[in-house]
């Protein structure tokens, strides 16, 4: 059959770029990274198989403390982004008028296209000792001496929330947008009040959007590098910094690869746990957006 041959040929032609991309740039590099992470340097150009790099990680509290700190702060950032972002998304999707809705959504998107670096730079200019906030407060007479708002955990968390909150709002807006207003009205009509309607109708409906937003936000936060370094300074102890350190400063690729793999495994584990807890799948959330 001619038709069948054409179909088969086009399938192969379409599959080839996909396979090359995923295999050469995603699967193979990660397999390679795993391979490097399980070999130990025993002499110049001499390696042997072993879990030494991973054992090192667990033997040195500063390493796994950093990972746990990164993970817990990322969870905190995710929770904050959800709490702060949900009302905004709800406002855009359900309360704003038709014309303001588009404008607000655009305003949400514009910072999305501005580099991390510029955003962090802006926060530095606002928060540092000689920054806008400090000098304004001085000028207003609230404080006498300049205050350093930078280089603490609060600044890092705020900067991270700022960086990632859009990735929470955008999927939430599109999920809530698809929700029929009459569903909410029916909820009230059947005797629900504000909190029950929110808890029983809106949140369950928005669950795929919430989970998808949380996954992306968590992964972005845990894998972020610039914001913690620039806003947290030298002591921000973010795990990606450790990885960079192992690779570039110490030139210890084996342990850097192990660290990279641990970060990947750790974040995947958290995401997997989150999906299990919320009863969603990767297909029903992230893949949909």
């Amino acid at each position: 059959m001619m038709q069948k041959d054409i179909k088969r040929l086009s399938l192969i032609l379409l599959f080839a770029p996909f396979a090359l991309w995923i295999f050469l740039l995603i699967v193979l590099p990660h397999l390679g990274m795993f391979y490097i992470s399980v070999r130990e340097k025993v002499g110049p150009r001499m390696y042997e198989f072993g879990l030494g790099n991973y054992i090192n990680f667990f033997a040195e509290p500063i390493y796994w403390n950093t990972l746990i700190r990164t993970g817990s702060m990322s969870l905190l950032v995710t929770a904050l982004a959800l709490l702060l972002g949900f009302p905004i998304a709800y406002y855009i999707a359900k309360i704003a008028g038709n014309r303001t809705r588009g404008a607000l959504f655009l305003m949400c998107l514009i910072p999305l296209w501005v580099s991390d670096l510029i955003r962090a730079f802006g926060w530095i200019l606002l928060l540092r000792e000689t920054g806008i906030i400090s000098s304004s407060l001085q000028w207003a007479g609230v404080i006498n001496t300049p205050i350093e708002f930078l280089y603490n955990d609060a600044a890092v968390i705020m900067g991270l929330v700022y960086t990632v909150i859009l990735f929470m709002i955008v999927p939430l807006v599109s999920t809530l947008d698809g929700m029929d207003n009459s569903m909410i009205e029916a909820g009230y009509n059947l005797g629900g009040n504000g909190p029950t309607v929110l808890r029983r109708i809106i949140i369950p409906y928005a669950m795929p959007g919430i989970v998808s937003g949380c996954i992306v936000v968590f992964m972005l936060t845990a894998g972020s590098y610039l914001t913690p370094i620039l806003l947290g300074g030298k002591n921000s102890s973010w795990f990606t910094e450790q990885i960079y350190d192992q690779f570039i400063t110490r030139y210890n690729w084996e342990s850097g690869a192990a660290f990279g793999f641990l970060l990947l495994a750790f974040t995947s584990l958290v995401v997997w746990g989150g999906l299990k807890l919320s009863g969603q799948t990767l297909n029903s959330t992230v893949a949909k957006s």
């Binding site: 054409i6 086009s10 399938l11 379409l14 599959f15 770029p17 996909f18 991309w21 995923i22 740039l25 995603i26 590099p29 390679g32 990274m33 490097i36 009302p87 905004i88 406002y91 309360i95 607000l104 998107l109 514009i110 910072p111 296209w113 501005v114 580099s115 991390d116 670096l117 510029i118 730079f121 802006g122 926060w123 530095i124 200019l125 606002l126 540092r128 000689t130 920054g131 806008i132 000098s135 000028w139 700022y162 909410i184 009205e185 009230y188 992306v216 992964m219 972005l220 894998g223 590098y225 610039l226 620039l230 990606t240 990885i243 690729w253 690869a257 990279g260 297909n283 992230v286 893949a287």
Partner: protein, 285 residues
């Protein structure tokens, strides 16, 4: 309006929303405004308006359009972003046809594989590609004494590294559009006597074009602003974000960085707006 809560609640809700947008805008405004401050430092007090940080050609107030290294960074960013967007739109379009039109075993699994690069931390992507490329290059050099220069940190690796996750974004955008395509349109064209190639050229691709253009612009912007993945793969040809970071760490913040920020923000905002306009659905039926 879905719910009509009492006015006090609505007012405080509105204030919260307004405050949120102030929060969103604050660092961008801060980063942008000092580009026009006639001072050597990006901080208050305001010393008066100037365009020196864009156009002045002498130190100490060297404007961005006369700063060799920044301009070179801009040029490399442009080159990288162009290649990344072309490549990722091409593969994204293939992926769209693959996942919307074809049936093959384990499709769901491959779809998850396609989405995965978006959630892998950029740092890890950069490292893993760097490791693989370096190992292959080292191996080739030792075993075959071949010098595979393109596998060393440099433009090609940066393009590949960014391409590896940006393709997911372009694929998702184009898939969404192709899913909306009414396949009977292709059949109708076929029925009216068009060949397969002609149907693709005159019906399907014109329909997909807005999504392809929008995806291309998005890819261009994401590539332009990328830092995490690029950091590990960059060679001597540093794109703009890396150059800026270098400057920030080594020289400290100077208003010329504000000028670059302003330039980038305006440029990205315009491009983003265009991408939204071209991909907007025309009213049909």
């Amino acid at each position: 309006m879905a719910i009509k809560p009492n006015t006090a609640f609505l007012t405080s809700y509105r204030i919260y929303v307004a405050a949120f947008f102030v929060f969103l805008a604050a660092p961008l405004v801060a980063a942008g405004m000092f580009a026009f401050n006639d001072s050597l430092f990006p901080s208050l007090p305001w010393q008066g308006f100037t365009l020196d940080w864009f156009f002045n050609d002498t130190e100490p107030k060297l404007g961005m359009f006369h700063d060799r290294r920044l301009l070179r960074g801009l040029y490399y960013s442009f080159v990288i972003a162009s290649f990344v967007s072309l490549l990722s739109v091409f593969v994204g379009t293939c992926n769209a046809f693959l996942f919307v039109r074809c049936r093959f075993p384990a499709k769901d699994f491959f779809y998850i594989m396609m989405v995965l690069p978006l959630v892998i931390p950029g740092v890890i992507l950069g490292i893993s590609i760097l490791l693989l490329a370096s190992n292959i290059a080292n191996g080739a050099e030792e075993a075959l004494s071949l010098d595979l220069d393109f596998l060393r940190p440099g433009l090609i690796l940066v393009v590949l590294g960014q391409f590896s996750f940006i393709t997911t974004i372009t694929s998702l955008v184009i898939i969404a559009r192709l899913k909306k395509f009414d396949e009977s349109m292709e059949e109708a064209a076929f029925n009216l006597g068009a060949s397969r190639v002609r149907v693709l050229r005159t019906i399907t691709l014109p329909f997909l074009f807005p999504a392809m253009a929008a995806a291309g612009i998005v890819a261009f912007l994401v590539s332009f602003e990328n830092f995490n993945t690029t950091l590990f793969l960059v060679g001597s040809e540093a794109p703009l974000t890396i150059t800026m970071y270098d400057r920030m760490v080594k020289v400290g913040s100077t208003p010329v960085l504000n000028a670059v920020s302003f330039f980038l923000m305006v440029g990205s905002a315009l491009l983003a707006l265009i991408s939204i306009l071209v991909n907007r659905d025309k009213p049909q039926t």
